[in-house]
């Protein structure tokens, strides 16, 4: 009986050690960062951060975006279209700071001030690329958001052909 | 020892309350031979039933060897009754389809004894009750006296210290009644506590009766 008691205690020590060691080593991708009251975009680690909507790892800053709520909760997206889907479900949209990574100047820019193309190759495939400089085919943030919510993007087969032929 | 304190058993109907037993106080020491005497309906059988724990009173206590048996949960009460109390009923209550031997062995089943021990006890009881010659006969084939002796053997087989008899001679002829009395006398010599409920005058002349208790209209007089 004494041997069994010692054996139980030994097992407990081993089990707690394994769990403790695993907790220390734990390395899950980030989905949200809280307390970002500077409302500035966070330089998140690629392949360690998840898109809030599609739950995929963000592997490139190209096409990525961030949304920061009034409370400082920062959400990440690997496609601007995903951010628009997320934004639609939020209350107090105007108070949310939106940032996009521009494809021409490679920096974070206020999404409401950026310009958007409609035929870019993006991660999920919605087709909206963010640019700091306006060009002939680019549209504003509100136009991009409206098109995204109406389904007028590259993932819509009815719209895709006309978009690619520049007839939309 | 059996202690009965302020025992009451009554039945309520729409108009009134009928007392089968009222304010019974009685103490019976070990080894006593007690006769409960009274006419039919006086409460003798009710008192025996309450002592055996086969019914619950409305108030009061029944203690056997210090154990308040009325308060015991059913499983404990059954076990207590099996080990301490043997009952001989007026109408024998044998299992007609079983043999005499099996009828006597039945109370030993819950005691989980070995087959050897069961056989030993059954044979002893058959001997005391003078029914050994009928061990293999079916209970349905016995005469009244033989059935009564089988019932006695069954009451003894658990080595119970208390034997309760409810009108044991009511269905017997004279010869069998005398045989029954001889067996009771044997049991009394074995220091069993015996309580007999009867209005048979054959018990009037017994010199080994230690106490007479008369019950009239549910009260001890």
């Amino acid at each position: 009986m004494k041997i069994i008691k010692i054996f139980s205690q030994l097992l407990l020590v081993v089990i707690v050690s394994i769990i403790g060691y695993s907790i220390i080593q734990k390395d899950n991708p980030i989905e949200v960062v809280r307390g970002n009251l500077s409302y500035r975009p966070i330089p998140f680690t690629l392949e360690k951060t998840d898109d809030t909507i599609c739950k995929m790892l963000i592997r490139s800053y190209y096409g990525s975006s961030q949304a920061i709520t009034k409370k400082g909760d920062t959400y990440f997206f690997n496609d601007i279209g995903c951010m628009m889907i997320w934004l639609e479900e939020q209350p107090h949209k105007e108070s949310i700071r939106l940032w996009v990574y521009t494809n021409d100047t490679n920096r974070w820019l206020n999404a409401r001030l950026a310009h958007y193309t409609t035929r870019d190759k993006t991660v999920i495939g919605y087709g909206f690329g963010a640019y700091e400089k306006k060009n002939r085919d680019s549209i504003s943030f509100e136009q991009m958001r409206s098109r995204m919510l109406k389904g007028e993007n590259l993932l819509n087969p009815k719209v895709r052909k006309r978009l690619l032929e520049n007839r939309y | 020892m059996i202690e009965i304190i302020e025992l009451n058993r009554y039945y309520d109907n729409q108009k009134e309350r009928f007392y089968a037993l009222k304010d019974i106080n009685l103490t019976i020491n070990r080894g006593e031979f007690v006769l409960l005497h009274g006419v039919s309906g006086s409460g003798k059988t009710t008192l025996l039933t309450l002592i055996a724990g086969m019914d619950k009173p409305n108030s009061g206590i029944v203690k056997i060897e210090g154990e308040p048996i009325i308060k015991l949960p059913d499983q404990h009460l059954s076990k207590f009754r099996n080990q301490h109390i043997g009952i001989i009923f007026q109408h024998y209550n044998l299992l007609e389809n079983l043999s005499v031997y099996d009828n006597i062995a039945t109370p030993l089943i819950p005691m989980r004894l070995s087959l050897k021990e069961i056989d030993k006890r059954v044979k002893e009881s058959l001997e005391i009750a003078n029914i050994s010659h009928k061990a293999n006969s079916l209970a349905s084939r016995l005469s009244g006296g033989e059935k009564q002796r089988t019932a006695i053997a069954r009451a003894l087989v658990t080595q119970a210290s208390i034997i309760l008899c409810d009108e044991p001679t009511a269905n017997l002829d004279k010869a069998n009644r005398e045989m029954f009395l001889e067996i009771l006398h044997k049991l009394h010599k074995l220091n069993k506590t015996i309580i007999v409920s009867t209005h048979d005058p054959i018990f009037n002349d017994l010199d080994y009766v230690t106490r007479w208790v008369s019950i009239v209209d549910g009260k001890i007089v």
Binding site: Q9, I18, I19, S22, D50 | -
Partner: protein
């Protein structure tokens, strides 16, 4: 779509007319009703109970107490049958609800589902504790835990009443025109995310699985109830995840199929009932054993042996599926990585 039930514009969901649901709800109502009677009598008994008394009131209470105990043992036995029947019912209606492939989709349909399921498990655990206390209370002759089990019953009855409402609300809220999630959406691996608790990987998870089993056995029979408590708590978590993310895949023979409910279906010979039944039964018996020993001060050999048998059955079923797969195929299952094509 519903039907008008004729009282103040109340509309009831027509899914309530499904045979399995109707039987289930009717059974729940009947059990609740007889427990309601026992509830009323129990309050009366608890207020006036005095075992040392020999008055007519106390004798009456003892008769009522016996009646209540018989009712409760019957009703509680029914509850043990109704939980698997609840799961079976959800599995059956997954056939008529779009998107749901098994109970997983149905149970997560609305906010009642999971909390209803957990309340049912909690009720079963408390019932088991009550039955254990009742057994030893009757064995003790003087009903030393009469009031404890009385109050416990009142708590159980409250939970059963809440459960009854949630049963109705859950099924009434199911809309067969709405697409549900299937288990791959609910339990499927999120990319890059380790779903296992404490940051464990599969190897460590399995090591813990078997070590915890050994620890539960050794602590039970060496009467180390504190270690047993920790063991049971951890085994509840580790056992669940082990089945979900390892052993379950061998039952389905699909490395990415992680669902606790699909194994309850006919396709898998209903093995889920035996597997989860032995797992949950073992946990509950373990908790009951701890309560018996620490609170009542009773050493419960029978409960310990039964718990051991159930856990052993659970371990054997899980291990056998892996062993049989390996013997048949010569390899272990490997998870398949899904890549997005742009």
């Amino acid at each position: 779509m519903g039907f008008y039930c004729g009282w103040k514009n109340c509309i009831m969901n027509s899914i309530l007319l499904n045979t399995n649901i109707a039987i289930f709800l009717l059974a729940e109502w009947i059990v609740w009703f007889i427990l309601f009677i026992a509830f009323g009598v129990s309050i009366y008994i608890l207020k006036k109970w005095d075992f040392q008394s020999y008055t007519p009131t106390q004798y009456k209470l003892e008769k009522y107490a016996y009646l209540v105990m018989v009712i409760l043992v019957f009703a509680f036995s029914m509850k043990f049958i109704l939980l698997p029947y609840f799961v079976f019912t959800m599995d059956k209606i997954s056939d008529i609800v779009p998107g749901a492939m098994c109970s997983a989709g149905v149970i997560s349909f609305n906010h009642y589902g999971m909390k209803l399921f957990f309340v049912k498990l909690l009720i079963l655990l408390l019932l088991m504790v009550w039955l254990m206390i009742n057994h030893y209370d009757l064995e003790a002759k003087k009903y030393p835990w009469f009031k404890l089990k009385g109050w416990l019953y009142l708590v159980i009855f409250m939970l059963i009443s809440v459960e009854l409402y949630w049963d109705y609300a859950f099924f009434n809220d199911i809309d067969i025109h709405k697409v549900l999630n299937c288990c791959s959406t609910l339990y499927g691996l999120l990319e890059g995310v380790n779903p296992l608790p404490f940051g464990l990987d599969k190897t460590r998870l399995l090591i813990l699985f078997y070590l915890l089993y050994l620890m539960i056995l050794s602590s039970t029979f060496s009467k180390q109830y504190f270690i047993l408590s920790i063991g049971l708590l951890l085994f509840t978590i580790i056992g669940y995840y082990s089945v979900l993310y390892f052993f379950g895949t061998y039952i389905y023979q699909m490395p990415n199929h992680n669902c606790p409910f699909c194994m309850l279906q006919k396709d898998y010979y209903y093995i889920g009932y035996l597997l989860w039944g032995s797992f949950i039964g073992g946990i509950f018996l373990g908790v009951t054993t701890i309560i018996a020993n620490l609170i009542l001060g009773i050493d419960t050999q029978k409960l310990k042996i039964l718990m051991t048998l159930l856990f052993t059955l659970f371990i054997v079923i899980c291990s056998l599926y892996v062993a049989i797969y390996y013997i048949q195929n010569g390899v272990f299952l490997e998870p398949v990585k899904v890549e997005m094509v742009m």
